[in-house]
Symmetry: C2
Subunit: 345 residues, 2 copies
C-alpha cells in the first residue's frame, strides 16, 4: 500500500518525519511518498495545493498530513484567499472527498491533572466528535465581498447530512450507542433540515441508537460543565470546527490529539494542533499527535487494527516515560520518537 505524506509548514515536517519513522517500523511494506502542501508549496509552486500533489493522490491508500499555515503576520495571510495555506487544506479535503472528520477526545486515566477542568469533571471523558467536513458555509460558491458588505452562505442538502450521520451512527454502534446531534434549529433553516434528516435516518436505519438533539450554544456550555454526558457528537462544519477545538482542550494536551477524515476514497490523517511556527525547526515539538494520527491511518486507512493498537500502546508508554516539554517534561522530538520505537512490542 501507498501512503502520501504531506509534511506542510511550521513543525509539520519534524512531526511527520517522526510519524513516518514509526509507520515504517510497524508496516515495512508500506511505501511512503512525500508531497508539498500549504505555504511552503505556494512558495515553490505558486499554489498551496499544487497539481503534482493532486495527481499523486489518485494512487494513495491513505494520506498523512502534518500542519499547514504560518504565523499571524506571515505574508501568506496577505495573499488572495485561494493562494493561502488554508485554502490548500480545504482543497485537499475536497479532492479526497473526506466528508467526515473524526476527533476522539479521551482523558487518559491518571492524566486528569493535565485538564483545565476539575479532575472530577475530566475523569473518564470519552467523546468522539464527528464533524461534517465538505459542506456548509466553508464551501459556499457565492461567497463575496461587495463594497462595504460581505456574504457567506451556509447550505446543506439531505444527501450531505445523511452520509456524515451514517458515520456517526456507525461509530456509536461500536461505542456506547449514543449520538448527540448539534444544531441551531431555533434560528437556522439549515439546522431544521439537519435535525429532520438526522432523525429520519435514525428512525429508518439505526433504531438501536439513542439520538438526541441539542443547540450549539448549550453544547458549548455542557461540554465544559458536564463532558461525561456525551458519547458521539455529530455536527456540521462550522459548529464542528468550534466544538471540536473546544473539546480538545479537555485532556489538557493538544499535542496528543489525532484526527481522521474519512469519505469516498483515501482517508486523511492529521494532528489537530497548528503549525506552531514559534518552535518550528528546533526539534522540540511533540510528535505524539502525528504518531497517533499514523495509528488512526493504520486502523481506518489500511485496516490494520493490530499495528494501530501497537502504536497506541507505545505512545501511551512513551508519554509517561519521556514526556515532552508541552507536557511538563524534558523530551525533545527525537527522544520521544525513539522512546515510542523502543516501546513497540
Amino acid at each position: 500500500p501507498k501512503v502520501i505524506t504531506l509534511p506542510g509548514d511550521g513543525i509539520g515536517p519534524e512531526i511527520t518525519a517522526a510519524a513516518a519513522q514509526v509507520l515504517r517500523e510497524v508496516a515495512p511494506d508500506v511505501t511512503l511518498e512525500e508531497h508539498a502542501l500549504g505555504g511552503g508549496a505556494y512558495d515553490v509552486y505558486g499554489d498551496p495545493f499544487p497539481q503534482r500533489t493532486r495527481d499523486a493522490l489518485s494512487e494513495a491508500d491513505a494520506v498523512l498530513l502534518g500542519t499547514v499555515g504560518g504565523a499571524q503576520d506571515s505574508p501568506w495571510n496577505k495573499l488572495p484567499r485561494p493562494q493561502r495555506p488554508e485554502s490548500g487544506l480545504l482543497a485537499l479535503r475536497k479532492a479526497l472527498g473526506c466528508y467526515a472528520n473524526l476527533r476522539p477526545v479521551r482523558v487518559q486515566p491518571g492524566l486528569e491533572h493535565l485538564s483545565p477542568l476539575k479532575p472530577e469533571l475530566a475523569r473518564g471523558v470519552d467523546i468522539l466528535i464527528v464533524r461534517e467536513l465538505l459542506g456548509g458555509i466553508y464551501f459556499d460558491q457565492d461567497r463575496k465581498i461587495e463594497g462595504d458588505a460581505a456574504y457567506n452562505t451556509m447550505r446543506y442538502t439531505t444527501p450531505e447530512v445523511e452520509r456524515v450521520a451514517r458515520v456517526a451512527f456507525w461509530a456509536a454502534e461500536q461505542r456506547r450507542g449514543r449520538v448527540t446531534s448539534v444544531d441551531k434549529a431555533n434560528v437556522l433553516e439549515v439546522s431544521e433540515l439537519w435535525r429532520r434528516d438526522v432523525q429520519a435516518l435514525r428512525d429508518r436505519s439505526y433504531r438501536g441508537i439513542h439520538l438526541n438533539h441539542e443547540y450549539v450554544d448549550s453544547v458549548a456550555m455542557l461540554i465544559v460543565s458536564n463532558p461525561s454526558r456525551y458519547d458521539v457528537i455529530l455536527t456540521e462544519n462550522l459548529f464542528g470546527d468550534i466544538l471540536s477545538d473546544l473539546a480538545a482542550v479537555i485532556p489538557g494536551s493538544l499535542g496528543v490529539m489525532p484526527s481522521a477524515s474519512l469519505g469516498d476514497g483515501a482517508g486523511l490523517f492529521e494532528p489537530i494542533h497548528g503549525s506552531a511556527p514559534d518552535i518550528a525547526g528546533q526539534g522540540v515539538a511533540n510528535p505524539a499527535a502525528a504518531i497517533l494520527s499514523a495509528a488512526m491511518l493504520l486502523r481506518h486507512g489500511l485496516k490494520r487494527p493490530d499495528a494501530a493498537n501497537q502504536v497506541d500502546r507505545a505512545v501511551a508508554f512513551a508519554l509517561r516515560s519521556h514526556p515532552t516539554r508541552d507536557l511538563g517534561g524534558q523530551a525533545d522530538t527525537g527522544t520521544f520518537t525513539r522512546a515510542v520505537l523502543e516501546a513497540l512490542d
Copy 2:
C-alpha cells in the same frame, strides 16, 4: 421614567416579579408596565411579539425581560418559525434596535470553587463579551428550505460592524483597554470584512485601545484553558451566541449572569439563562440574574449608577447569606429576594 417588563415563559414571571420588587424599592419613581412576549403571548394573541407589546415599547425608557420558550417537546417548537417564542425575542431585539449585547463574566473572589475550571484558572476572570445582536446569519432575509436543501446567509456591512465595535472600544476604555475581536477570517469573507473594519476603526478613532484578532475556534479553546488573557471580546452574532454561553459557565452559576442589549433606543435587560420549564411555577428559581439585569438597567438604561451599585452589593451579600438551590443552598425565590431587599443599604 417608564420600564416595560416582559416576564415571558417558564420561570420568567417569578424571577421578573422578584426583579421588579427590587427595582420599585431602589427607584420608587419608576413606572413598571407589564406586557406579553414569547410562547404565552402566542397562546393568547397568536403572536409571540404581539402588536400591543410592540406599541408599548415606544414609551419605554428601558425593557426588563424574563425568559422565553418552552421545553424541547413543547408544541411551541412545532409552530411555523415566525410564531415560535424565539422569533418573538429576535423581533423584540430588532424593534428596539439593540445591536450590542453585553455580557459580563466575572468570577467573584471566594467563589472560584463553583467553577468547572480549576480554581487557579478561574481566579480573577473578568471578561466582557460584546456580541453583535442584529445582524449576521440570524437576520438573513433569503433564508429557505427548498426541497432537500436549506440555506442561511451570513452577511455584515461596514456600518453594522462599526457601530458594535464602538461599543466594545468604549467599554474597554473603562476597563483594561484591551479588545479581542473574534472571527473566522481564514475561511469567511464576512470575517475578512469584519476584521478589516474593526482594525480600521481602532486605527482611526481608538488608538489607545490594544486590539488583536483571533479565530473563533482558537478562542473557544483559550477561553477555557486561559480565560484571564481576555478583557473585552468583540464578536458577531452567531459566534457570540456560542462564545458567550461558553464563557458563562466559567463562574459556575448561570443563575447569576445578567445581560444588557444596547442600541439606538431603549435598552433590553435580561438574564442569560433559559426558561427552565422543569422548575417553573414552584417558587424555587434563582432570581439573582434577573435582579442583576435590573441593576444593569439602572446603570445603562436609566443612568443611575448609585442605585445599580446598591443592588449589585445587595445581591452579592444575599448570595453568600442565602444561597439558592442551584448554588448548593436552601433559599427559594422569595427568601432570596427578601434577603436582597433587606441588604439594600
